[in-house]
């Protein structure tokens, strides 16, 4: 496996692979790799001959009061994990490489798609993600890019960018990876105390209960969602949202209709740690 720190280096490596007729799948990460990421890498390998992983904690997607400084960083372990998973290239740029020190004059604005879910609680989050993913797509130029369903709003917004910007890349969405008790794997789970970790899977079980009721014929889930939010609060969560959203635009849906696809998603804090999870409902 080759480690590239500069844009010229990574471009050279990918060009080399493509000249050999190899297809390239790309897994952009912020490091602190866990089994969730490794499942993305495995899925990437299933789609393409070679896998490129980027490890870069993108400052542009953190708000001023968020955890940019505390975000777990373990570059050496991450590189080793990539190697063990059979990646071909790992791209580990620093801020100077990614953004330089010159003044920036452009930004990517998002309409509607970030008005709900994480877009509300994290202003500028998805704009920061598009900023870096747009750059990374242009730098790495992969055939496929793999993102996890856990961050489903991110996946949908990136898919929209690929459509509107004509990136020549196919987006692959990987299923949520979970601990045995159901908790969605996340680098931020490392922040949880033992007690919080015990309670954490309740977010997923709340989603599963609502999903079961929807499949049993529940059409207007508002009351059920409210009950589950109260249960979560009783367990020690501080709710952000728990709702059903339309699949493409990610706007709240009051009445479910057969033939449609929805996202049943929740976000809640345990202490300072924000957990998110979601299920896709295909009626």
């Amino acid at each position: 496996m080759i480690q590239c720190k500069t844009i010229d280096e990574i471009r050279e490596q990918v060009t080399l692979l493509k000249k050999q007729g190899k297809s390239v799948a790309f897994v952009p990460t912020m490091g602190a790799l866990h089994q969730g990421h490794l499942s993305l890498i495995k899925l990437a390998k299933a789609h393409a001959d070679e896998v490129v992983v980027s490890i870069y904690v993108n400052p542009e997607q953190f708000g001023p009061n968020e955890d940019f400084e505390e975000y777990p960083r373990q570059l050496e372990d991450d590189i080793q994990a990539c190697q063990e998973e059979g990646c071909s290239v790992v791209f580990t740029p620093d801020d100077e490489i990614m953004y330089g020190s010159d003044k920036k004059y452009l930004s990517i604005q998002i309409n509607e798609l970030n008005l709900h879910m994480d877009g509300v609680s994290r202003p500028g989050f998805f704009e920061g993600i598009l900023l870096v993913v747009n750059k990374l797509f242009n730098i790495v130029d992969p055939d496929f890019a793999v993102f996890g369903q856990k961050d489903i709003q991110q996946v949908q917004i990136i898919r929209q960018m690929v459509r509107e910007f004509n990136h020549n890349v196919e987006i692959v969405m990987a299923p949520v990876q979970r601990a045995e008790d159901g908790l969605a794997l996340s680098s931020r789970n490392a922040y949880l105390t033992k007690e919080q970790r015990m309670v954490a899977p309740y977010l997923y079980s709340a989603l599963k209960r609502v999903e079961a009721k929807i499949h049993d014929g529940l059409v207007e889930p508002e009351a059920v969602l409210k009950e589950e939010q109260e249960e979560l609060e009783a367990k020690g969560f501080k709710n952000d949202y728990l709702n059903v959203f339309s699949f493409s635009v990610m706007a709240p849906v009051e009445k479910l209709e057969p033939g449609n696809k929805y996202i049943l998603a929740g976000a809640a804090y345990l202490g300072k740690t924000r957990l998110i999870d979601n299920l896709i409902i295909d009626l």
Copy 2:
């Protein structure tokens, strides 16, 4: 020469050329090709093995009161001109191919760089240009892209996009092509009446007079610029701007300093036709 109408077709052709080890230079145009465009194609050929020209009148860069409908269209002549100039591929998409009919959720915002010059008179103009050029760069994936200095603010903003978005393309700026009497070549010159066409070169001569005075030591050009604007009005022009701007940010400059680069630029109407021209001042 091959004509491609779809994104898949043009991608296939460029991929084929690159597989043969050929470098590709790209000349995006809105058609109505004149000697100015042909000079861009010639410069493209000097930079790369193969030249791709796109012909597409981009609706997104026209304001509601601008000349989108009247903009000259002569596709067959343009294709023949590209062939005669030795282009390899001409890309002639329609609106459905470029933008589709689905709702758009993203836009590229520009800060500062469009506050002056054409950015003031044409709100949304440069955002519309970035929208289509970003798409075209991702579709065509060229090694070089050639733009004319006549639209220098466009060139500078596209260069900024290439830096911030990490497009893997080198921007080449071609000098302004002029008629024998000095008028900068432009597809919009076709709108001029015989009488207007006689007067039109005066914009360039005004710039040349100011340039000469700056090279003779003029440091604060405001008064001279005002005189020239009055002369232009007397000749029948309606002035938009005539000023010296900083080279990178394109903000008005009151006092010129040695060692700096500036853009001396003017825009003025003859009837409904808007003419622009500029000179780069390197002190």
